[in-house]
């Protein structure tokens, strides 16, 4: 077996049982009592309606899952499509939604235990904790512990549990059918209330339809996800809906409504009535298994969501530290466990179910919107194996029904949902925006069409874009120039409290697939280069992240990487073999460098020595960049900075230069004004300096440099290192929105 096959070892049945196992616990073992009390036999209709709403979202989740089989599932798709603002809502929603749901499952577990094991309630400091809650707390703690130490046997039990449950329910249904009397189902709609309880009850029982989305959170482990993921996601919703409806209808046809209504463990009593003590025992056993497996699967899924959130810096990645001994994400599981226990203590079973449902409904709505965004923007790498039928109706109906159902919850629950969304957005603005780097497809789409889209929309989009601090990307190609580039880039990053991003582009021959290169290539050299960069950055005290990028292209990939990693500044070396031969398509480079959204410094390295810096200036934006880098050099390396201005009139020139220097905080620099030929003046003063700055005097320095069309004799004629500066072109857009910064 290949590593790929070993890593993806969840077969179709295992994937299906994650979904069924998470869902079946709640619907049939805990909720019938409350649902029938409100709606009579119409409760069965509420289960079917809930399943119908779920199936639309399940279709969307399947398509997104086959396009992006990544750990984290729903959160990942929403973050990817709609950006980290909604990602934060989805991540927190999914995480807390699962914690509420787990608390609900555990409370259900408690209700089952107390039917045979009388647990006394406990009073501490005037607060009474019921026996049900004590069992729920103990059970919750147990399942958190099991996941904390990662006992791997529990995962395998899931398949068996689901099959046993389905068998128990099948036998139960058969007995029910034998005793069925259709007259008992009438009136199907409660005569006093009419159809009005249908939607509120659908909201209540919707907690029974959270499981299918947890399948997507382990999507990266599923064998052949293109086929198995949609089958598991859609299959689990269909099977579970059918089971719920069938069991409930037979129950209500076989016994009086009064035996079910308001009964917390209704199915046990119905089984006792229909089958006798053995039946009651089996249903009791089933209830325990079902609630336990739901909670266990939910805790596991929430740690995947935490991981994916940490990967995108929505939460601290320290949350996702792996336990050195157990190999589990113990902090994430521990904190999730804390929330579960807290929720069990604070809320009653109905509130827990509603909170879990409402948070998931927000996610479901966003999932459908994400699908539409992906289809409309149609990025190149979006290649789902499964496509939702009847697009765009399916996701539109899915989004509308999911969001609309929220309105039928109690006001306090709706308020909780709104408050929660506000919290997650504030969390993003205050905590995550400065750290997150991943931009959503929607944001990219809007910003790339900023001319055609109303200014207000562009402005709103810009103001929520992630802004991972000041990020300096350094493409590293060879060990000789690595230290100098890191020194230069590191000092700028440090001055701005920023981060270095070291990237190494590994060029893969066209005939080799990138995936197989990832497995077969030897990256020892690249690793060493990046390791050295990390050591050098550590010495400077600058945070650094490093990436090896496999690509069929070499030079062009540098610009893509700068976009991907959200660079504010790129610092690159330039030499005969710095970054491989530029590609054949010159126009492509022209295109890429035409709309630089970051500043660029190119170092012609002849040994990095910032002790004596020469900055020739004629004013203009690119010499602003030179000036600010000179500032950093002064501060960081005590550089002696000389400003050179070539003017027609010496006096005017001196006045200009003095003012220019003052404005840019270089008042203490040595000022030199010359008349005559610019290049000659630069060359003669460069003889005394160790580092020469050249600002691009006109646009397109970089593209001309790349094409070898740049005839700047100065660069070759001087003996010191030369730093070429080109300022970002996006400035104008940003200026328009925020003023200059």
């Amino acid at each position: 077996m290949t590593d790929e096959e070993l890593a993806k070892d969840l077969g179709p049945l295992a994937a299906l049982t994650i979904g069924i196992g998470t869902m079946i616990g709640a619907g049939i073992f805990v909720l019938p009592g409350a649902a029938v009390k409100e709606a009579g036999p119409l409760a069965a209709g509420a289960f079917v309606l809930g399943g119908t709403i779920a199936i639309f979202t399940a279709a969307s989740a399947s398509e997104l899952g086959t396009a992006m089989p990544k750990s984290g599932g729903a959160y990942y798709y929403i973050n990817h499509a709609l950006g980290p603002l909604f990602g934060s809502v989805a991540g927190w929603g999914n995480w807390m939604g699962l914690a509420f749901a787990s608390a609900f499952y555990m409370t259900g577990f408690g209700q089952y235990v107390v039917t045979f094991l009388p647990v006394p309630s406990l009073s501490i400091a005037g607060i009474t904790i019921s026996g049900v809650k004590i069992v729920a707390l103990a059970g919750g703690a147990l399942f958190v512990f099991i996941n904390y130490v990662g006992a791997k046997e529990t995962g395998k039990l899931q398949n068996a549990i689901v099959l046993i449950l389905l068998a128990i329910l099948a036998v139960f249904t058969v007995f029910g059918l034998l005793n069925a009397d259709l007259a008992k189902l009438r009136p199907f709609v409660p005569p006093d209330k009419g159809i009005s309880p249908l939607l509120p009850v659908t909201g209540l029982v919707f907690v029974s339809y959270l499981g299918f989305v947890q399948i997507t959170s382990v999507a990266e482990e599923i064998k052949n996800p293109g086929k198995n993921l949609p089958r598991a996601v859609l299959g689990s919703v269909i099977i579970v809906t059918a089971v719920y409806a069938l069991v409930l209808v037979t129950v209500l046809a076989a016994v009086d409504n009064s035996l079910v209504a308001g009964n917390e463990t209704a199915v046990v009593d119905v089984a006792r009535h229909l089958i006798g003590p053995v039946g009651a025992g089996a249903m009791l056993f089933g209830g325990l298994l079902a609630t336990a497996s739901s909670a266990n699967a939910s805790i596991l899924a929430s740690s995947r969501i935490n991981f994916a959130m940490g990967r995108d810096q929505i939460v601290s990645s320290e949350l996702n530290e792996i336990h050195p001994r157990f190999g589990t994400p113990y902090r994430s599981i521990g904190i999730t466990g804390g929330f579960i226990l807290l929720f069990i203590l604070l809320a009653d079973v109905g509130t827990l179910a509603n909170a879990g449902s409402v948070l998931h409904l927000i996610i479901y709505g966003l999932l459908n919107v994400s699908l539409i965004v992906m289809r409309v923007s149609d990025p190149e790498d979006y290649q789902p194996d499964y496509r939702v039928p009847l697009y765009p109706f399916t996701p539109i109906i899915g989004a509308i029904t999911s969001f609309a159902l929220i309105a039928f919850f109690a006001n306090t629950i709706v308020l909780l949902a709104v408050g929660f969304v506000v919290f997650a957005m504030i969390w993003y603005a205050v905590y995550a925006r400065g750290k997150a780097t991943k931009q959503g497809i929607l944001g990219k789409y809007i910003l790339s069409r900023s001319e055609q889209i109303p200014d207000a929309a562009v402005s709103a989009t810009t103001s929520v874009q992630p802004d991972g601090g000041y990020r300096v990307i350094v493409p590293l190609a060879n060990p000789e120039s690595e230290a100098d580039l890191i020194k230069l880039a590191g000092s700028v990053a440090k001055a701005r409290n920023g981060t270095l991003v070291g990237v190494h582009i590994e060029q893969v021959p066209d005939q080799t697939a990138l995936e197989s290169a990832r497995e077969e290539f030897d990256f020892a050299e690249a690793d060493e280069l990046l390791e050295q960069a990390r050591i050098d950055a550590d010495e400077l005290g600058v945070p650094i992240e490093t990436h090896t990028i496999l690509s069929h292209r070499s030079f062009e990939e540098v610009f893509d990487a700068a976009e991907t990693y959200n660079a504010d500044l790129m610092v690159m070396g330039w030499g005969p073999d710095s970054h491989g031969a530029p590609g054949r398509a010159e126009s492509a480079i022209e295109e890429m460098t035409h709309s630089l959204s970051y500043d660029v410094l190119v170092l012609k390295d002849r040994g990095f020595d910032p002790s004596r810096v020469l900055v020739p200036t004629a004013g203009g934006p690119d010499s602003d960049l030179s000036a600010s880098v000179a500032n950093v050099m002064q501060e960081f390396y005590d550089s002696e900075v000389t400003l050179l201005h070539v003017a027609d009139d010496k006096q005017e020139g001196e006045a200009f230069l003095r003012e220019w220097a003052e404005e840019r905080g270089l008042g203490d620099a040595k000022l030199v004004v010359e008349t005559g030929d610019v290049e000659r003046a630069i060359e003669s003063h460069a003889a005394d300096c160790s580092l020469l700055f050249i600002g691009a005097t006109e646009r397109g320095l970089l593209s001309r440099l790349v094409r070898g069309a740049l005839v700047l004799n100065v660069v070759d004629d001087v003996e010191c290192s030369v730093l070429l500066a080109e300022q970002s072109r996006k400035r104008s857009l940003r200026e328009r929105l925020f003023g200059s910064d």
Binding site: D3, L6, A7, D9, L10, G11, A14, I18, K70, S71, G72, N147, V149, G150, A151, K152, G155, K156, Q158, N159, V218, E220, E221, A297, L300, S303, R304, F307, A308, R311, N320, E321, I322, H323, P324, R325, F326, G327, T328, P329, A524, D527, E528, E531
Partner: protein, 157 residues
């Protein structure tokens, strides 16, 4: 089969469980590998549940593996040893390590004891014990340098 006996440290395989383990094992083995002019191999195994959801995401644990390997490479580079890394997936960590040893025909499987609270092995499984019992090649247990990280080696944080 040749009659010539190879030195234990000419092609040793170091199974590395976590960063602390990597630090301890590599530091302890490096001088011995240098002395033999050997070539080091390190393996890290990502434990799979084999048909059930894993205890942690694969991608998450691949990141951990990368950290472990880069630590090992650091030690090897400093000591001037050639080092190859091997990332494996397996439902049984011990078996996967033995397979890795077989593939490179390792001269020994080398590790340092991680000590501490053996009752936790109830949950994490005692891989080392399994290696000692099932290996058909020498298993060398090196004393870890106890001065700095003895607590973290146990992995309790």
């Amino acid at each position: 089969m040749t009659d010539e006996v190879e030195s234990l440290f000419s092609r040793p395989l170091l199974p590395l469980a976590n960063e602390a383990d990597a630090e301890a094992s590599c530091a302890a083995a490096a001088p011995r590998i240098v002395a033999e002019g050997g070539h080091a191999y390190v393996v890290h195994v990502i434990e799979k549940a084999g048909g059930a959801p894993d205890k942690a995401s694969v991608e998450q644990r691949e990141t951990v593996a990368e950290d472990i390997f880069s630590l090992a490479r650091g030690v090897a580079t400093e000591a001037g040893i050639e080092l190859d890394t091997d990332l494996r997936f397996g439902t049984d960590v011990g078996d996967a390590i033995l397979d890795a040893a077989e593939d490179i025909d390792a001269t020994a499987i080398v590790f340092t004891p991680r000590g501490g609270r053996s009752w936790w092995d109830l949950f994490s499984g005692d891989v080392r014990d399994r290696l000692v019992r099932n290996s058909d090649r020498p298993v060398v247990v090196l004393p870890a340098q106890r001065d700095d990280h003895s607590e973290t080696i146990d992995g309790e944080t």
